[in-house]
Every structure is written in structure tokens, then in C-alpha cells.
């Protein structure tokens, strides 16, 4: 199966582990990812705060660059995913606005026909297109005994439906069960990680991060598994600062779901970007998966 691939800026550096593990896992599952040539930043939430038309035009450039042979576009970052799908939907639902966006694209010699590209998140591609049997077939090192808390964040499940429940999504729960992991059913799995608030108001952001870490810890999770680079950065990168701020002692590794797929599939952890996380996952993986998992 062939998909256009939009990695997004985070996956270049900060979330390189996500990018590497996505590519490795996709390879193994027969998902052919073709990176959009010369893609640009999706503008995150920031561009929408300044200029809606420019925000959509910037995003639509990427949609326009998807090769005509494919109509499926995969984005692993939740913010990129939402921006891409939202722009397409705006252009479809509001044809006048769509025309304006195309006027902008025309200034760069591009054109995008609204609705042409279906934007997908990597999780949906694996769960819906690849499916349980194919995933289970590939598992060589089941994650038995590992208590993982799937963390969905916001922008993949809301506000545009990805055929999962926007309040209580289950897709990643299923996927992690297929890998043999013990899945923690905790109530805040689709609550907010704080997003860009770490840059604006740390007390506010840290409180949101604390709620998630606290709840996952209350439900005795060994680690949190996420599907968005922003969530990962906030929960992992800021974890020690949150501890400092509240006097807590969280020590929860935050991994990408593709990394967990990768180790269950027996892929070399180095290739999956293990070790790039700040709160290291090694001790818990060694303790729970026995011997030398990585």
C-alpha cells in the first residue's frame, strides 16, 4: 500500500525517534511511504492565530504537492494531521474560501482540488488498513507484562472524527493489546498535554502535564505511549521541571506507539530511536520484558 508521507518539522529533529520508528514499522508492514518533496511547516496552531487564509494556504501547499498517483496522505504528528485535514475540510465545506486558498496557491503555480487527498494519521493506517491479523503476525517479542497507558492527546480524535470515540478513543488500546501489552484503562487518555502553553505559561502547562502523569501513575502504568511529538515533548522533556515545580517524583517514560510496535516486531531499538527520550525507558523495559529487551 502506498501513501504520501508528511513528517512535519518536529519529526526532523526533536521527534526523530518518531520518524525513524514510523519508517521502520511501515517498512515491515508493507506500508510504502513516499515523503512529499519539499514540504513546508503546517504552521501549528500559531498560524491560525494570525491569519486564517495564510494558515490554510501554507498548509494547502503540502496538499497540492501530493503526487497525483496517490490520494492518501499520512501524518504522524497530531497538529500537522489536524491542520491538513481541517484545511481540506474548510475548502470542501466553504467553496468560496476554497477558491481564495487556490488563488493563493496559484501565486506559487500550484492548485489543489478540495477533497482530493484523504489525510490519515499513522495510527489509523496501521489499525484500520493493516489490521489486527497482519500486526499480530509480525509480533516476535510480545510486550507481555508491560503496563502501558495509551495517550491519544487531542487533535487526532477531535474535532474531526477519525472513526474513534473523541472522548474515549480505543484504537491505540486495541493496537497495544495486539502487541501483548497490558493496557491501562485510565480516564485522561484524551485530555490535553498543554500544547504550546509550555512556551507561554509554565504554571498552566505544568498543571496539565501533572494531571496526566498523576493519573497514569495512579493507574500504575509503566510508561505512557503517545502518538504526537508535542505530547511527547511536554510529558517527557518537561517531566523533571514538573517534578521540580510540584515536588512530585514522576519517572514515567514517554514513548511513541511506533517505537513499541518496533520492539514487538523485533526491530533493533537503535533504529527505532530508543535512547532519545529524556526519561529513559531502558530500566522498565529490562525489568518488565526480562533479559535484554533492547
Amino acid at each position: 500500500m502506498k501513501y504520501a508521507y508528511y513528517p512535519g518539522c518536529s519529526l526532523e529533529r526533536n521527534a526523530a525517534a518518531y520518524d525513524h520508528s514510523v519508517r521502520e514499522v511501515a517498512d515491515l508492514l508493507g506500508i510504502r511511504l513516499q515523503e512529499i518533496d519539499d514540504w513546508n511547516c503546517c504552521g501549528a496552531t500559531e498560524y491560525f492565530s494570525r491569519n486564517e487564509l495564510a494558515a490554510c494556504a501554507v498548509i494547502a501547499r503540502n496538499l497540492a504537492l501530493v503526487e497525483p498517483q496517490t490520494d492518501q496522505l499520512v501524518a504522524p504528528c497530531a497538529a500537522c494531521y489536524l491542520n491538513l485535514i481541517k484545511t481540506d475540510k474548510l475548502m470542501v465545506d466553504h467553496p468560496e474560501f476554497g477558491k481564495e486558498v487556490n488563488q493563493c496557491l496559484a501565486a506559487g503555480g500550484l492548485k489543489y482540488e478540495p477533497g482530493r487527498v484523504t489525510v490519515r494519521h499513522m495510527l489509523d493506517v496501521i489499525v484500520d488498513d493493516i489490521g489486527e491479523t497482519a500486526v499480530r503476525d509480525k509480533v516476535v517479542r510480545p510486550l507481555a507484562g508491560l503496563r502501558v497507558a495509551p495517550y491519544y492527546g487531542c487533535q487526532v480524535v477531535r474535532p474531526i472524527s477519525n472513526n474513534d470515540n473523541p472522548e474515549y478513543p480505543m484504537k491505540m488500546d486495541h493496537l497495544l493489546k495486539w502487541l501483548g501489552a497490558e493496557v491501562v484503562d485510565y480516564p485522561v487518555k484524551a485530555h490535553c498535554c498543554g500544547g504550546h502553553m509550555t512556551q507561554i505559561s509554565e504554571p498552566q502547562a505544568f498543571e496539565l502535564i501533572r494531571r496526566l502523569l498523576q493519573n497514569a501513575q495512579d493507574y500504575v502504568a509503566d510508561m505512557i505511549v503517545c502518538m504526537c511529538p508535542m505530547c511527547q515533548l511536554n510529558l517527557d522533556g518537561y517531566q523533571s521541571r514538573v517534578n521540580g515545580f510540584f515536588g512530585t517524583e514522576f519517572k514515567l517514560p514517554i514513548m511513541y506507539f511506533t517505537q513499541m510496535l518496533g520492539i514487538a516486531f523485533g526491530i533493533d531499538p537503535q533504529k527505532l530511536g530508543f535512547g532519545k527520550e529524556i526519561v529513559t525507558a531502558m530500566p522498565v523495559l529490562e525489568a518488565k520484558l526480562g533479559g535484554q529487551p533492547v
Partner: protein, 188 residues
Amino acid sequence: MAAHIAEKKGTFLEEVIEATPGGERLVHCIQCGSCGGSCPSGAEMQYTPRTLIAMIGANDRDAVLAANTMWACVSCYFCTSRCPQNIPITDIIYTLKRMSIAEKRYHDTDAPALAKTFTDFVDRYGRSFEFGLATGYHLLKRPISMMKMGPMGLQMFTRGRMALRPTKIRQIEQLQAIINKAKELSAK
């Protein structure tokens, strides 16, 4: 135009609806408070989103655009997905952010500065640039917090998670032409 379609009265409500795709749902608000109850930043807000909608209805333009509500929003979309009247509340918050920035009505928040730094990078390079963002914006806005960021930034470096130089897309001129056109059209 037929008389029954209310003559434009130049109200703030009309202005917000006009500026938001799907904004016409705003008139259906029943003031139930689903949005204010659901908001993870509800406690930080001077006015809850529900109150803000009531204020929009009351034509209280100045107070709305000066509110901190928009700047506490984390775009989690809980308000939108739970709204029993299908009002795109998060999008309305974005509209208010744009209005507030355009008229420089905001105060006591760094969010507009962050947005500017971020979009400037996109305009210049076609990619966002976390290190530049962190340094540029933080040096500008909050040097003290920059120092606190120190150890974390270092950890990010040592794990190869932060680049020192921004990536520039090849066809930056094309992107800039698109952005300039958008800015030109939206200025109208």
C-alpha cells in the same frame, strides 16, 4: 435582499460569525456551559468561553478582545466536540485571537509574540525551528525562564533532538509568493 433576513446591524456577533467558517452556529448557544466546564484551562480564564459568547451577544467588543480567555486556550477542542449546539468554539477562539492581535488589544500574555516568532520562521524558512523559537522568543520575552530551560535544552541537544540551524525548504520563493498573496487577499 428580502426584508426578513435581518439587515446587517454591524454588531460584534455578526462580525465574529462572518470571520469564522461555521460561525453561524453561534446564534444557537443555549448558555449551558459545556465549553466552560470542559476547558482544561478553565481555571485560568477571566471569562469562560460561555461567558465570552454571552458577551459577544451583548456586543461587548472591547471587553471580549481584551479578555485573556483566548490566550489560555490550548486547542484541545473539548469545547467544540462536546458543544450540544455544534458551535465551533475553538475556531471562534481563533477568530478572536486574530482580531485581538490585529488590533493589539491583548495584554499580559506572550502568546501573540510566540505566534509571531513562529510564523516569521515559517515565512523565512518554510519550516519551524525549535531552537530558534526557544532562544529568539525566550530571549525576547523571558530571559529568566530561558535560564531554567538550560538543563532541559542541554538534554535535548545531547540526544540529538535540537538543531542549531534551521532547515530551509528549496522552493522558499514559491511559499513566500503564496503567503504574500494570502496576506494581500486577507488585507482586503
